[in-house]
């Protein structure tokens, strides 16, 4: 299946990557080329084959449900581009 411009615009929106219309067409062509190439997987028979999740060499572990970290609010906030008091700041989201 070939990728159209509307779908390209929709995935750019989903990915929160702002692309100008001129860039969208370039991206569409690149992705369409890659999608055409990965379509070769359609010839593989996967009937009854389970999907591989991770490498399945290790069982997932559980640990005690205890706090192991924290009390570093200032340090964590220090990485942010913009803060106000103990908060991250963003443009107003409620009208």
């Amino acid at each position: 299946m070939s990728l159209d411009l509307a779908t390209t615009r929709r995935i750019a929106k989903l990915a929160r990557i702002g692309l100008a219309d001129a860039e969208l067409e370039t991206v569409r062509q690149k992705l369409d080329g890659i999608l055409g190439w990965v379509d070769q997987l359609s010839e593989v028979d996967v009937e009854g084959v389970p999907p591989m999740v991770g490498t399945e060499m290790e069982a997932l572990r559980q640990r005690e449900d205890v706090v192991t970290d924290g009390n570093c609010q200032q340090a964590v906030l220090s990485c942010a581009p913009e803060t106000s008091g103990p908060f991250y700041t963003v443009p107003k989201v409620v009208e």
Binding site: I11, V38, L41, V46, G54, R61
Partner: protein, 495 residues
Amino acid sequence: MLTRLTLTEARAGLAARKFSARDLAKAHLDAIDRLNPKLNAYITVLPEKDVLAAADAADARYANGTARAMEGLPVGVKDLFCTKGVKTTAASKILANFIPLYESTVTARLLDAGSVFVGKTNLDEFAMGSANITSAFGSVLNPWQRKGDEATALVPGGSSGGSAAAVAAGLALAATGTDTGGSIRQPAAFCGIVGLKPTYGRCSRWGTIAYASSLDQAGPMTRTVADAGLMLEAMAGFDEKDSTCSNRPVPAFAQAVGKSVKGLRVGIPAEYRAPGLSPEISAMWEQGIAWLRDAGCEIVDVSLPHTKYGLATYYIIAPAECSSNLARYDGIRFGVRKDAPTLDGVYELTRAEGFGEEVRNRILMGTYVLSAGYYDAYYLKAQKVRTLIKRDFVQAFEQVDVLLTPTAPSAAFAQGENADDPVQMYLNDIFTVPASMAGVPALSVPVGLDAKGLPLGLQIIGRHFDEETVLSVGGALEAAAGFAHTPTLHAEAGA
């Protein structure tokens, strides 16, 4: 001579007090000063006073008899590992100002073993690339040059191209790399050094900036196979902060090198004889087979029938995981932010301007294959094919102990080659991706030069958690090949 040593030689020289860790550190800082402006192998060089302080601490340990496995050895760190208080960029504009508050588990272990970090090495942005041309801080130059054509700038491979170039040119005795689809092994081959991608789960991924979490694995990039064993021993081990990290004991990897390989069964996968494989690479592979036969190995033809689907599977799964992992770069909590009137506008502008083209395309590709209506056709399908690829390896390893293949389909190519067509660029990883998909360990060993004087590597792939056999066979190959070449651009060239 200090920048030509192996880790093992340098460790012995330090222990015998032939030179000090300070001498060693100074020689490397000096080499970086002279060559890094040309090679661009480091994004960040650590301040001289910090490097020398670490070296002095190492010298004190040699003096009082408490020196550890990597004590005083100058190491480069791929700029994908978070280093506490040291800028960590992933070669992306979006992290241009990011100073981590914590140390990755792998680098913490290397520091605990006494390593002296000299700098953060360049890479493809977020480790996405096979030529180290997507770094926001400029391309890395391969220190090797074509004979009679010194003007053509060659790529070091990627994504760990800065690490490979630094080790090859004498700007570090060894460096860390990460490998998602070949990012340790292919640049190691292109730069004439040794690179080991351990079994998935052998090294903790905690604190390493994530690209594709089910594939990412840290490993050593060194001058010899024994060095790779020594350094992996320092890097590996259980970490409760990474739920996929194995709690199996860490063997004495370096001791596996030099062990007899007599009677080991070496598989030659028919599917790696790809059409169009360069005759020189074919010949080098045949030579490798002959060397291992002479060393007493039994050569066995095997089949990995789903090899040809490895790359397509990879280019669905890796972008899918990348689109999830890179969602965190939103301009709000860390990194660079581009202001806009709305919150969505901040996200969209920050991510459009902060990520380079290749990273954006992979995020978009991943978003597409995970989106409603396409998930089953692409992502789920790819995960099922991945099961078949892994089964191929498990079945092959019922017949043989290791597999021998070329590492890459060509020697280092020129900057600008393969740049326009992503699929052409992706083909570089054709021999390395399948082992990544299966999660098995794989080692690239430099074995010779092509007609243009560029290094070629062979790859040894082993069973899950059997790095020891991989290292033993790698050691045998290394001994037979006797690769002792260094690149034209080297810290001690002409000295």
